[in-house]
Symmetry: C2
Subunit: 256 residues, 2 copies
């Protein structure tokens, strides 16, 4: 678990990545694109953008000119209550499309913040109409990605509504582990964990203290191991039993 500033130092990086050389697209989680689609997306993406850890990518209520897909790094979506309590709605990893609710509705109803340095492909919203009118397959992909977002929110709802603290934490760990593994970000059974315990608490609707104690219990029982900015899954079987984890993200998905 993150202990403090480090963050995968992929900072500087070169200029812009051409979509045909996209390091994500080659991964087997993503469905292959036709050349026609690929060159459209290349036109669709106008610029690349870097956001440092801890900075806001899009603020609540903002009508961003862009939607983004994450090229590298972690981010999270959240909403705040007037008294500063915060609910983390979801974690966004490379390949995830974020900010879609902004252009399509009237401004984004949540904020998005970078957990690590984040590299983004930016798509201007005014080019969306062109996508719809010339690339029906990509339109379908947008619907697909929006549906996936809702499905992840649904699973999260099930956790918050009906699972105990231990179950929630076990579930979250497996969830992140499998998403990382699919993206090739895990080495063995250990995966990067840039979230602090405060983030975990805010994602799972728990207090920080209780999160800490529950997490420690999982460690003591040797179900997981917590490193500096990483977690190792020691007993996946038992974690599944505890949490009722349900693998659902198995299919290949579109990458825009």
């Amino acid at each position: 678990m993150k202990r403090r500033s480090e963050g995968q130092k992929r900072g500087a990086a070169a200029g812009t990545v051409h979509c045909r050389n996209c390091p994500l697209r080659v991964k087997p989680v993503f469905r292959p694109f036709e050349g026609r689609e690929l060159s459209f997306v290349e036109w669709f993406k106008t610029v690349e953008k870097t956001v440092e850890a801890g900075r806001t990518i899009i603020a609540e209520g903002e009508k961003s000119r862009f939607i983004f897909t994450i090229l590298s790094g972690w981010a999270f979506r959240y909403k705040s209550l007037p008294d500063d309590r915060r609910q983390i709605l979801g974690i966004a990893l490379p390949g995830d499309l974020i900010g879609m609710q902004g252009p399509v509705m009237d401004g984004l109803q949540h904020s998005i913040e970078a957990l690590t340095p984040v590299r983004l492909c930016a798509f201007p919203r005014e080019r969306l109409w062109k996508l719809y009118s010339t690339h029906p397959a990509l339109a379908h992909d947008l619907v697909w990605l929006a549906s996936r977002g809702e499905r992840m929110a649904d699973e999260h709802l099930l956790s918050l509504g009906r699972r105990s603290a231990t179950q929630r934490i076990a579930y979250l760990i497996l969830h992140l582990y499998h998403r990382c593994a699919a993206l090739d970000l895990a080495t063995g059974t250990t995966f990067p964990m840039p979230l602090t315990q405060a983030h975990v608490a805010d994602a799972l609707g728990l207090s920080l203290v209780h999160t800490n104690k529950t997490l420690r219990r999982l460690v003591r029982h040797r179900l997981i191991e917590v490193g500096d900015s990483s977690i190792t899954v020691l007993d996946e079987e038992k974690l599944r039993d505890i949490s009722g984890y349900d693998e659902t993200d198995g299919v290949r998905r579109p990458l825009i």
Copy 2:
């Protein structure tokens, strides 16, 4: 609050409603359609279907041949845990598109059940490609509706994660009240309430007993009145204060 079998007896009804005569479309919540779109939707809709209260509309895992929009009646989406605990993910009202995750992903990851007798317009999924390829505006509308679903899930997440029992119930009541009002289903400040307290509990991640007690407290304090299958909002101001309710569903939305 619903006490038992009654259910708005709009049962029998005639045959099929032609989209151009759709009783929903004329309501000001829905954005107007061009004739071209309208006649496409008329072709898209192949059949109408009635489901009685308490029956399942689509079951978890099912790959339904259709997606539906609700013409009349109430339904709810839910997920179950192996031990029979249930989490209600959301309430679907007339004009809502349901079952979209089924065709687009690989089978629906939640179930949908009718709360009252429900009348559905059914769209076969194999005609979706035609929608994408000939009606970009409708493709955009699908994205819009999917984003709205995610936004509602996000608000629900905030409730479950960070609000107290009282706040959750106050929020839910205002939420349903405003959605009903927008659809012209409320008379004055009273709106139909087909959910039982068990449904409310399962939606808000509470126990049935605690839901009952909390609800009673709102009634005792004269913030609401509970009738047989209806709720009257007595003090919206105070309910807003309690819950931190945030009106977000103000804009006109597409109806497919």
